[in-house]
Structure formats: structure tokens, C-alpha cells
Symmetry: D2
Subunit: 363 residues, 4 copies
Amino acid sequence: MVIVMAPDVTPEDIDAVVRLVESTGGEAFVSRGVTGVFDPATDREQVRVTRVVIGLVGDMEQLAELNLREMRGVAKVTLVSSKFKLVSREHHPQRSVVDVAGVPIGPTTMTLIAGPCAVETPIQTLAAARMAKAAGATLLRGGAFKPRTSPYAFQGLGERGLKILSDVRDEIGLPIVTEVVGVEDVDMIASYADMLQIGTRNMQNFPLLQAVGATRKPVMLKRGMNATIEEWLMAAEYIAQRGNLDIVLCERGIRTFETATRNTLDISAVPVVQRMSHLPVIIDPSHSGGHRDLVLPLSRAGIVVGADGLIIDVHPQPDRALCDGPQALIAEDLRELSRMVGELSAVMGREPADTEQERRLAG
Amino acid sequence: MVIVMAPDVTPEDIDAVVRLVESTGGEAFVSRGVTGVFDPATDREQVRVTRVVIGLVGDMEQLAELNLREMRGVAKVTLVSSKFKLVSREHHPQRSVVDVAGVPIGPTTMTLIAGPCAVETPIQTLAAARMAKAAGATLLRGGAFKPRTSPYAFQGLGERGLKILSDVRDEIGLPIVTEVVGVEDVDMIASYADMLQIGTRNMQNFPLLQAVGATRKPVMLKRGMNATIEEWLMAAEYIAQRGNLDIVLCERGIRTFETATRNTLDISAVPVVQRMSHLPVIIDPSHSGGHRDLVLPLSRAGIVVGADGLIIDVHPQPDRALCDGPQALIAEDLRELSRMVGELSAVMGREPADTEQERRLAG
Amino acid sequence: MVIVMAPDVTPEDIDAVVRLVESTGGEAFVSRGVTGVFDPATDREQVRVTRVVIGLVGDMEQLAELNLREMRGVAKVTLVSSKFKLVSREHHPQRSVVDVAGVPIGPTTMTLIAGPCAVETPIQTLAAARMAKAAGATLLRGGAFKPRTSPYAFQGLGERGLKILSDVRDEIGLPIVTEVVGVEDVDMIASYADMLQIGTRNMQNFPLLQAVGATRKPVMLKRGMNATIEEWLMAAEYIAQRGNLDIVLCERGIRTFETATRNTLDISAVPVVQRMSHLPVIIDPSHSGGHRDLVLPLSRAGIVVGADGLIIDVHPQPDRALCDGPQALIAEDLRELSRMVGELSAVMGREPADTEQERRLAG
Amino acid sequence: MVIVMAPDVTPEDIDAVVRLVESTGGEAFVSRGVTGVFDPATDREQVRVTRVVIGLVGDMEQLAELNLREMRGVAKVTLVSSKFKLVSREHHPQRSVVDVAGVPIGPTTMTLIAGPCAVETPIQTLAAARMAKAAGATLLRGGAFKPRTSPYAFQGLGERGLKILSDVRDEIGLPIVTEVVGVEDVDMIASYADMLQIGTRNMQNFPLLQAVGATRKPVMLKRGMNATIEEWLMAAEYIAQRGNLDIVLCERGIRTFETATRNTLDISAVPVVQRMSHLPVIIDPSHSGGHRDLVLPLSRAGIVVGADGLIIDVHPQPDRALCDGPQALIAEDLRELSRMVGELSAVMGREPADTEQERRLAG
């Protein structure tokens, strides 16, 4: 059951609904939509809420008897039948924009996220960030906590890596996206990051989904390498249900019998997801192909299939990378990437996203 | 073992090599390359051969003792180690152009093939062909022999369907591409068709591959829905080994666990194949997605990932189609397709292929 | 539409139905059931027909108007809704026995088929056949026509191989099972073989299915490595529809992401198929595992999961085999196989099948 | 790098090694092997350690310079090249026995684990446990924390469910196996459970693997539905590296294109794993097949392929189950299961595991 609140709802109205639901043994999760409504005159942390939705869990018959429809501030009560509710496009036909510290990801822009797969040293991270920015990236990716198949592989620098990322952000001005692996690290990582990434192996780590859902940070949810599109949207629903609708989906390739590529990029997932959900969706051509020379063709394909952004590995010296070097782009690839993003975004009627854009658009 | 003959080789030189190899119990298959060399001043059936390659099968030690390198007309004898030889890019770095009755498929053009999945009636076929031509298609597809999972499903009109296709070709001027299912039908179908199609279920039907390899017609080889890229190129090698190098590969989606789409279009296969083989490669967005509204996004992705063409289902009345109606484009989609092919081909530095182009290019 | 004829139906009754159906433009395929009813007093080629079923293809409304139910010899007319009809268990609840030159494959026996993957020489074939017989095999497998992924791999000895098999049969007394690859070879191969095998790559080679369906020889239909169980039964329906119900299904592993084994044996397919179809089903532990040391464990699993038989590669010198040596069993494995087949068959209430058994059972 | 300590090693020796390694910035994880050595005269919590292995993570060159080989209590220092070390059979050829509160899982026994998929009520849990015990189960499974694809599905009773399980254990005497989903719950769950289960969706939840690795409880590690066998053993290595070698692997089906079964049981994984690792491996026929009538055939197959145990869903009223009812066995199936486990275990030379056995064997 989903309750859509009226535009002029007050915190007291919301509290009243929550308390009533909880009094019957049910649970109420409040989601605050912020799509395209950040106030350009204010600091990025300040949020102008335009849409409040409350998802209910519990005994449906009992909840139906509460007559929630009549409560103050309630606009609509929906008994949704589709498997996912808050992330479904059924009740939210307009595609959402997620704001990452001023950088929009949504239907009218093309957002380039780039950076090193893993943060290794301050010098490597700064160099990669400069490459990323020069190529037109407006968000910096970088992993400090790395989930690795082998316990003997490099596991990331941990909080030390986050400090490096934070310093690099101060230096070059790109907001940062970084992965969370464990529930216990979510708050600490959220204190550094502008966007939290859930990796492919954790797509069904439900406590972790709930933990990032409880933060106020935008989340990038990578598709599980064996997950159906429906399961992926269900995972997004776990995040949304805890009150965080700032979710960007990321297609990064699925596991198939083909071994010529690291994974098989399911390019069709982009239009399929956009039909089913209002959430933005981006693609990761680096991890799906697994080879440097596939990154540009797959990036082109991603843009014109309709993706809202790209996330790309770059490294100043790929042959020395501690993680996924073979797929990292180098400087000359990036010039071509930059040129091509501009040209194809224009064909698709999108403009490259930048850090000031969201403010300008809203201003 | 592969023998590359000199540019001025004579038929007698070729015969001498073949006879010598056969005298030792081996087999010799002569491939005549016609890449980009059709004579514009002559009829389309006349072929100017520029490159002759002879593939040998037999006892390699015995063949090595024949001293073939010294024979007249022999330019090079190669003991290739790669699994495929004639279709590999290793010994043929330039990407090939396949000429289909005057329409080129290759690295500088974007060829649109369209038509009904199955030929049903003369009126339906003509209407679909007109839609295809209006959208910019320069080759007409249409199935008269349909391999269907169920013996109780519509199996195609057989030769009657080929006659309809042939009449439509006379009427609107597009060369025709049609599927062969059985070895016994190859010659009959080749007498009607301009290009023979091998479907996904027959990709490893080796006698059929050898039979189309023995014709002089260009072949479109669809990827098996469970075939690795390597197996696909091996299947092309079966065709090439019988002397027919006019092969166009067609990626049409692979079978995975995802059920939201009919198949998973393996878009990465295009650049991977182009690195491994000199053969042109096109994509089939209709059969991979299985839904009308995926055809345009996947077509766009196919063009910019670098495909040499597209093959698309169209039907004047998709809801009445006897085969694969849900994925057939209708008239308004086709206008958008046409616009988009033009725009994105230009971005990729390709020009749309037409029936006169090959002559002009060569003239 | 399926017509079940009465037990006392005459050839004239059957002809009358067929002619009437054909007069409306439809097609009628007569299947003669011979399950468990071979006459032990007569030559193996003589067949006592106990059940005649006619499958109809055409315009269902038109066929319905023919009032076939009233014709002489017709017991029942069924408008079956399930996707497969003749092979379905819905109208044939008793599980079938297929008789291969006196050797039964069915629900009360455990039939061991063994032999070399490929026939190479008379000596190798005879040695392998002796190994097979010593291990309790009552049918001899051996390939003379081999569908190979690469055109440069050993393709089998062709008819010369069939002659070797035939000589070995005369010598040691085991009926032979061998693969058909091309429609044009079916009659020739059927003149040597006791059972025709359709390989995994040809499971959807529909003309080939129809061709073996038109013979009087039992057919072993291997599952396509990417085929769903439903598609596999549909392929069997193609054979049955041409009048041949003597079909044995063979599970040989499917293609998955796992690379530790050659294919993934889908052991669950055995009970699933047995619930859906009356046809016998056996397993091939050699091709699914691809390693010698997996053959015995998978054979044990196959027997107790309920399979009606096993087909196993043996070779006197696996390290010299021209095809699939790594998975061929050697003599000491075979003693263990023999012991284990006896013990586990007893647990399952089956007795090992032998060449005289069918006669005795029916006598 | 792995250090094998001498049999007479003292806690002080171990500490000395750990401190030295840590002084260089490396990490040392102590694993205490308890395989088959529990003292029958004592309480189950008391453990007789027979084998101490220390896994090192850090700068290998630096660690090599420490000359660890010369330290007191060190028997061997190995620079292992295989991807997994502690769980590999390479350095531990004898197959391990894991003791779960007195019930052995290992190469000479057949352990039956049964119970409800989810704990719902005290009555349902007790009834299911009685069914399980009557069928010969010696361990009770039951989920209190359920990872569900949808946030709107029943998520389990949490700690209340654990109390129910604990009461049922007191009542009928079977040790309990239950799932852990979040790192933060591990200690609490370990205070109730005799064995901790890691579910398929968490196989690569590395912090969770490390957390259970830090407990003294045996762990059942289910295979990820998309995990290769190598990745599965790597996940086990994460647990082992934290000092817990009491790991039982559980094959529960992988995700493939086949939809007739819930998952595809990869029965070959059992012998493949046993060749690569010394850890016990069991199969879950309930979750792989997803249908009640597949559970018995797949259980039979599992026993004879060589599995060390089975884990099976039972429910007193499957049609009312809150989770996975369609695959739960009912009373009459269980009688057949019991009979069959006895018969086939004997064929395989194993005896059914019981709670006193481990003590008797060691006594």
C-alpha cells in the first residue's frame, strides 16, 4: 500500500499517518521526492521536498480499515498490484532526476562519471581525476572499499582512500561516488561521499540496501550480474522503502556463456527499465566489456540507446593498476570519448550535465 | 593450411594446385575474394576476382612435403595456428565488402535490410516491401521457409513464397534475402534469392553451411542463440572453406536467464567480431528484443557500435502477422528509423547503402 | 488435432481419413505405436502395430467440420491444447518402451549403450565394442558422421565407418546406434544402423527431424545444449508427427556460465520430462561432464534419478582418440560401472536390458 | 602465504608469529582445525585443536624476509600458488569432517538436515521438527531471518524465530542450522544457533563471510546462484582466512535459461568440488528443483553422486507456508526419503549421521 501526500503536507500530517500505521503493528516508510527541485539559491545540503510518499508494510486488511484516505495531508491511497511500487513508473509517469551535489542525472542530460576503479595513492587519484575532468566528467568515481572475489586480492585503502578522494574533490571540484560494502561503514562513508554505490555482488544484500535507504545520499545501484530486471527493480524498492528515492540504476553487464567479453552488456535493459521505472539508468561500459577497446563503442551505444549517463574507469597508468587495469581508458581515448559524448548527446537531445546546471535549470 | 595465390594467377595454376593436393588424399577448397572489386561497367553477375585463397584439409605432414610454395601462381603458404583461417582478420587486415546484387555491405556504408518476417500473401509482401523501401531499405528480407519450434506453427509458403518475393522484387527493385532450411532446397532457393540466410537454429548445421558455401550467392549467417563468437566464426569458416567468402554475420541476440526480452542482444559482439574477422557484421534488433518499442533504441545502438547494417521486421498489419508480429515495425516507426539511420550513419562516417552505390564507388 | 484410431483399425480406414483431410488442403501424419508389442516369434523388422494415431495440420475450423469422429476406425478426436501432442503424457499416461533390434529402453529396464565417440579403425572399434560388452552394454554407439565445430577437425569416416560398425555388430552381436547429420544420408545410414542419433547441434534441424521421422528406425534425440525442455519435446513432436514414435530422449548437458565442466548436466530434466512425456529418457554422462572421473558419479546419479539408460564413451586408448578422448572410460572404470549399474538398477527396481529380454518379456 | 604450525604448538608460539607479522603491517589469521577430533568425554563447546594454520595477508616480499620458518612451533611455510589456499585439497588431501554440536558432516556419513524454510509459529516449527526427526534428520533447519527478493514479502520473525527454534531444539534434541543475513546480527544469531547458514544471495557478501569466519560456529555456505565453483571456493576461503575452517558447502542450483525448474541443480559440482577442496559438500534438492515431486529423485541423485548430506524443506501444511511451500515435503514423502537414504547410503559405504556418532567415533 502506498500513500501519496498532498503538496502542502506538513511534518505533523506525516507523523500522524506514521503513528497510526505503527499503532496497528504495521510499518510506514516515508520517501521524500526531491526530483528537479533543489533550491539554486541555497547550499546543496538543503532540500526542497516536493513529493512525499509513504510505503506501508503490514496486514493489508487491517491497514485498509484505518481509512487513511480521510487523514489530513493525504492525497491518494493506492493498493498497488505491481511487484514494485515506489520505483514503478505506473504511479510516477514522469522520469526522475537525481541530484548529486548539484550534478543532475536524468532525462534531459548526459552525465559522465569517471575515475579510477580503486583509489591507490593521492597522486594516482589526482591524475585520474584530472583526466576525468578534462574528458568532461562531472562526477568522480573511485573505490576505497573493494569487494574482491579473492581474499588475497587488493581490498582497497578503506577510510584512508576516502580521505584521498575528499582531498581530490577539494582540489578539482568534482563530487565523488564511492562504493559501500558493509552496513557498519555506511555512515562513515556517507560522511565523505556525494553518492553511494552498491556493487553488483551486493545487489541483494538487503540490510545494506536498507542502510543506504536510510541515508540522505543519492545511491547508484549496480545490477547484479545474474539479476533479472525485475529483481533489480525490487532491490531498488528496498532502498526506496526506507525513504530514499534518489536512486540511479547502473547496467554493468550480466553473466552468460560468452567468454569473449568479461560480461555481456545487456543494452536492452536501458529502454526496458525506462518503461517500467521512473528512475534514471546509466551504463558501465568498462566492467561489462572488460577490454579498453570496447569502452568507446559501448559508450556510444549506451548514449543512443537512451541511457542517462556513463560510468567509466580511467587510470593514468593502466598497466600498473591494482584493480581492473585492462579496461581503464587512457588520455587519448578520453579525448575521443569527450568528442563523442558531445556529438551523440546532441543527437539525443540531451546536454552534458555539469555541476552548475541543476542550479541554473532550477533558478 | 592456407595458400594465397598471386594476383595474376590463372585458372590453370589453381587447377594444378588442387590436383596435386587431391592426389595425396587431401582436399582443396578454392575461395575467390571479390571484396570491393565488382566491375561497375558490367552486369551484376559478372565478378572480377582479385584474390584467390585455397584452404587445404588433410594430413598436414604429407601436404608440407608437396613443396607447394614453389608452384606457379602461389604467393604464400601459411600454416595458420588460429582456429579459423579464411575468415580471420589475421591474414586479411582490411575489412571486406560483400556485394548483394549491387548493394554493398561493408565498412563505409550502412545497409538497411527490411521486410516481413514471413511471406504470407502477395499483397502483404508488396505492402511491407513498399514500407521498407520508403524507410530507406535497399534489401528486402522475407521468409518462405520458416524453421519453427512447433511442427504445428506456420512453416512458410515454400517455393510459392519465393515466387511472391521475386515478383515484388521486379515491382519495386530491391534485391531479396531469404532463409534456407534444408540442403535439398539450396539450389532452388538460390535461383530466386540474391542472398541466402542461415538462421540461428542452423548455425551449426554443417551440411547446410557447406551447401551454401558451394553456391555463388552471398550468405547472411545468423549467430546461434547459444553460440560463442568463436563458434560463430567457425561456422563462417565452414562456408568459406567451400569457396564462398561473401559472408555477412548477423548478431541476433543470445539466450540468457533474462526473460524481459526475447533474447539478449550481445551488442559487444560487433566490435569483438570486427577485431577477429574481416567479414561485415550487422545486427537484428527485431528478433533480439522481441518488442516493437525496443527496435528503434537497439537500431541506434547497433549503428554507433559500428555495425555495417541492420535487418528489421516490418509488417503492414502486425497484429495479423503469422509470425513474430509483436516485433514488426509499423509505418510511423519507419519514418523515425529512416531519419535516425541517416543522422547516426553520418556521425559514424558511413553513407546509406543503395543499389547503385557499389557501381558508383567502383566506377 | 489428433485422431486416435480404434485397436481394430484397417489400413483402408486410415487411408480414408488421410484422403479426406488432404482433400481440404490439410496434412495428415500417421503414427504407428509399437510400444512393447514386438512379436518375439518373428524377425525384428516385423512390427505388430497396437496403436495408430493421426496428427493433423491445417485450418482447424475447416478440419472440425469434417466430422471425423464419425468415420470408420476412429476412436477419438482430440483438440489438444498442450503444445506437443503425440509425445505428451496427457493422452498416453503409460510410459513407452522403445525396442532397438530386440533391446528395450523403457521404465522397467536399465539399458547401457557404450562405444567409441568416433569410429576410427576396425581394430579400435572392435576393441571398444568388446570393452562395452564386457561392461554390460547391450547397444553399441559409434559415430561415422561427426558434426564438429571446426571444419578442420576430424569429421568421421562416413560410410566406411558404418561398414566397420556393421562388421563389429556381426562379430560381437550388439545392435548399433549412430548419428545422422544430413538429410541426404538418412536412408543410407538407416540401412546400416539399428538406431539413429540426432546430435545436440541438430535438435532444431527440422528437415532432419522429419527425415528420421519418416524412417522405421528408432531415434535417439539429444537435447540441444541451449534448448529448454519444452523445445526438446517439440523437436520430438516433429519426429513423431511423421509417423515415428520410437523416440528416446537423451539429456547430455546444457550450456551455462560454469566452465569447470564441459556442460552442466541437467539431472532434473529426467523427472521433469517423465512427467510431461511418455518417451524414455537416458543420460549421457560423458559429454555433459567432459572428464573421465565425472562419468561414474554422474552415471550413478542418472540411474537413481530415474533415467531409462546411459550412453557412455569408451575407447581402448583414450589418449590417442581422434575425438573426445578425455572423457572416454577405460577398462578398470568399466568394471566399476558394471558393478554399479547392477547394484543401483536393483535399488530402482529395474533389470539390466539385454538383447533377448524384449523377446522373453513379450513371449 | 600460509604457515602450518607443528602439532605441539603452544598459544605463545602462535601469538609470537601473529605479533611479528602485524609489526610489519601485515595481517595474520589463525585457523584452528578440529576435524574429527572433538573430545567425546567433554561438553560440545570444548574443542581439541589438532591443526593450526595461519594465513598471512600483506606485502609478500616483506613477509618473506621475516624468516618465519625458523620460529618456534612453525612446521611449514608455503607460498601457495593456487587461488584458494586454506580450503584447497592440495595441502590437505584428507577430506574434512565438520562437527555440528556432535553431528558429523563428512566423508563416511550421510547427514540429513531438514526443517521448515521459515519459522512461522511454535506449533508449525515443532510439527516440522518432529517430521524431520521421524525421517531421520539429525539437524534441524529453520529460517528466522529471510532474505527475500521483494521488500513486501515475509521477512522472517527475527530473534523471536530464533527463540522458537531454540525451544524446539530443547524439546526434540536436534541441533539447529539457521541463516544470517546481516553482519550486525551474527553474534546474536550465533548465541542461538549450532550452525550458521550463508544464503545464495550473500555468497559474495564479504563482510558477512568475514564475520561468520570470526565466530566459532560451523558455517554452511550456499553456492551463489550465478557463482562458478572457483568463486564459491574463494568465498569459503574468506571464511577460512578469519580462522574458521568448519565450513560445509551446499550446492543449491544455478541460474540458467531453463525455466521448467526453479534453478538447475549442478549435480556435477559435488565431485568437482571434492577434487578441489577438502571441505564437505551437501546438496539442497528443495531449492534447486522448486517442486515437491523433484525432491526425492534429486535427493537420490545427490547421495550417489557422493554428497556428504542433504538439506530438505519440510512443512506440516505446505499450502499454508509463508515461504516456498510448493517445494516442502510432506509426511508420506518423508517415509520414502528415510527408506531411500538408508538404502543408498549403504550402497555408498556411508552410515547415517546421528548426534552421538561423532562422540562414539572419537571415543
